[in-house]
Symmetry: C2
Subunit: 355 residues, 2 copies
DNA sequence: TTGAAAGCGCTACCAG
DNA sequence: CTGGTAGCGCTTTCAA
């Protein structure tokens, strides 16, 4: 007799009701507790082998899968590491880094969740993230995290809030991946080569601003105190935009361009060559990120090589912070000073043929 | 009086306990029910404005954020759409598509979760996904979903399991994005131009196999029944590998190469030109995906343009399936036939200068 | 208009 | 070695 209680209260529209541990218990003829013990290999308790088998078989037969929400509700904590995603492809470099990070976190038994935070911004996003009760949040600058947002997350149980970017956010553990340094390298290189009017490509694609703005700032910093000038050059990733910019270039008097990265540089290089501009003689051109692409072009692109620490490293940092949340960031009373922050990035200029 | 019951049972190691709706209720001097009504704007019940204010203020003050797990546990269903991620950057084309999809799903009020499924494979992965009780799963071929895996997901409450790829999986709703067609286009184009020994680049980078294998298959299909031959050409994304392949090419007698996509094509093009091979006179070269890159090279790359339907479209499909799970896939008794499947991809060859 | 209480699925105590 | 049971945070009847 499948003595199902009439189930009057609120029918979840499930077609076949999803099997629960109680169902498994019933089928195996044991209690829910025993099911839990068996399926979690609880070492503190010894269950006879026949029972184990019965439980496992019952679970198998029903297609039982534990309910993560219920589990973490009971446990009072999750193993979720939240990676908010921006709304842009961030390029091969970051793609690789991100994959490494995911791998490493997974090995440490975290549940990596990339959360699409598109329409949201600032504290709104922080709230949405907090609803999942992640044990850690690693923000790549997809949204502007405020100190208040960090506080929301911390209060909701996040033991580590890590920002990867330029500006440290109060209360968060800031891992410096300072894009300014990329710009600074490029700027220094170009100045050293004798260029004095430096164009800096600013991609018009939305979201790339997170990277391009600090890179520009870095070039400005390098030029500060010299007689050199810095000219921002908006550019969309299309041939038309590149041609237009090329046409405008002479009137701007720019003698060298730092083109954000190798992809934009290659686009601009093509436009320059097609317009009969000699590179680097008429105009020098520099990329960044040291993509393979840059070596395939003629002239080969000078670039800025960016060494990012491994995702493994960052994953370990997450794990340490989760284990002991108040390490570096001075968290007494959330009136914290800026975290010193690790440094996961090094940059250096590589000269090839375009500068 | 903060009459906190001694909290003897099991201390979750929370530093400051995370505020719950009960805390809000206490502070506002109302019941938990009222808090829920106010914060969810439950229309079926009318709460006085002063009470609403008090509740909101209390929530604000405590930094209360609802607990998603508890909520969905109670509700019996989530709004999670799971996008399992592979372990490779999938290229700009798919990146764009993926972003569109996320946007669109978000607008439909789904919680988009990209789940890192790296070390897992097959049914193991399906289990892990099922633990989150997603209402829908959209799989890009990151893992090989089996009919059994699909069943696990369905039984755990997933109302839509969608696979994007070549082979339909039994029980899942298959959205055809048949990479074979890309290969077929390339093959047909090359044959039409009179080439008879077609090399097909197979990237050695792990994970790209999902795309490259069907593309190769497509070329084979195009060549079937003709006197043409097809030669797979393993290639890593490095200059060395490209140079090695170039050196080996003459002995293979290949007169045209379909280089998987424009990126690999540009790599190989460089190596060919450096070796003094004339393109297309000595060896023709064809890319795919119609990246901007292909137009920047000289000779300009012939390519296969891939029109993918918008993510918006797919999001709507997800929404429809969630609303009415047994639409197209014949689901009576999970002995289903293959879903006819929508078609989200069109491909056509574009001749430029390299073929 | 508001409160009391049941119960979603799970794990961890404490008895037996 | 196994079972009963409380309770995680939330929503939603039903009663007041």
């Amino acid at each position: 007799m499948t003595q199902t209680p009439p189930r009057p209260p609120a029918g979840p529209p499930a077609r076949r009701p999803v099997p629960t541990s109680a169902d498994v218990a019933r089928l195996a003829g044991v209690s829910r507790a025993t099911v839990s013990y068996v399926l979690n290999n609880t070492s503190a308790v010894r269950i006879s082998e026949p029972t184990r088998r019965r439980v496992r078989e019952a679970a198998e037969e029903l297609g039982y899968v534990p309910h993560a929400a219920a589990r973490s509700l009971r446990a009072g904590r999750t193993r979720i590491v939240l990676l908010p995603t921006a709304h842009v492809p961030v390029g091969p470099l970051y793609g690789h880094f991100l994959n490494e990070l995911q791998w490493a976190l997974r090995r440490l038994d975290y549940t990596v969740v990339q959360y699409a935070s598109m329409g949201l911004r600032g504290d709104e996003a922080a709230r949405a993230w907090a609803e999942l009760r992640p044990v850690a949040v690693v923000s790549f600058g997809a949204v502007d995290l405020t100190p208040f947002g960090v506080d929301i997350l911390k209060r909701s149980g996040a033991r580590a809030v890590i920002t990867l970017g330029t500006r440290p956010v109060e209360g968060a553990h800031n891992v410096v991946m300072d894009q300014r340094r990329v710009g600074a390298c490029a700027g220094a290189h170009l100045l050293e080569r004798g260029y004095r009017r430096l164009g800096v490509v600013m991609p018009e694609e939305p979201g790339l601003n997170v990277f391009s703005a600090p890179r520009l700032e870095g070039v400005r910093g390098a030029a500060a105190g010299t007689d050199a000038e810095v000219v921002p050059l908006p550019l969309a990733y299309t041939e038309e935009s590149a041609a237009a910019l090329t046409a405008r270039l002479p009137s701007l008097g720019v003698d060298a361009v730092f083109a954000y990265n190798d992809e934009y540089a290659s686009l601009l290089l093509r436009a320059l060559l097609d317009a009969g501009v000699s590179v680097p003689d008429d105009t020098a051109l520099m990329g960044a990120d040291d993509l393979l692409l840059g070596k395939l072009l003629r002239p080969r692109l000078s670039t800025v090589q960016v060494d990012m620490e491994t995702g493994q490293h960052l994953a370990e940092l997450v794990d340490r912070l989760v284990g002991d949340p108040d390490r570096t960031p001075d968290d007494h009373g959330h009136q914290a000073g800026h975290a010193p922050g690790h440094d996961l990035m090094a940059a250096r200029a590589i000269r090839r043929e375009s500068t």
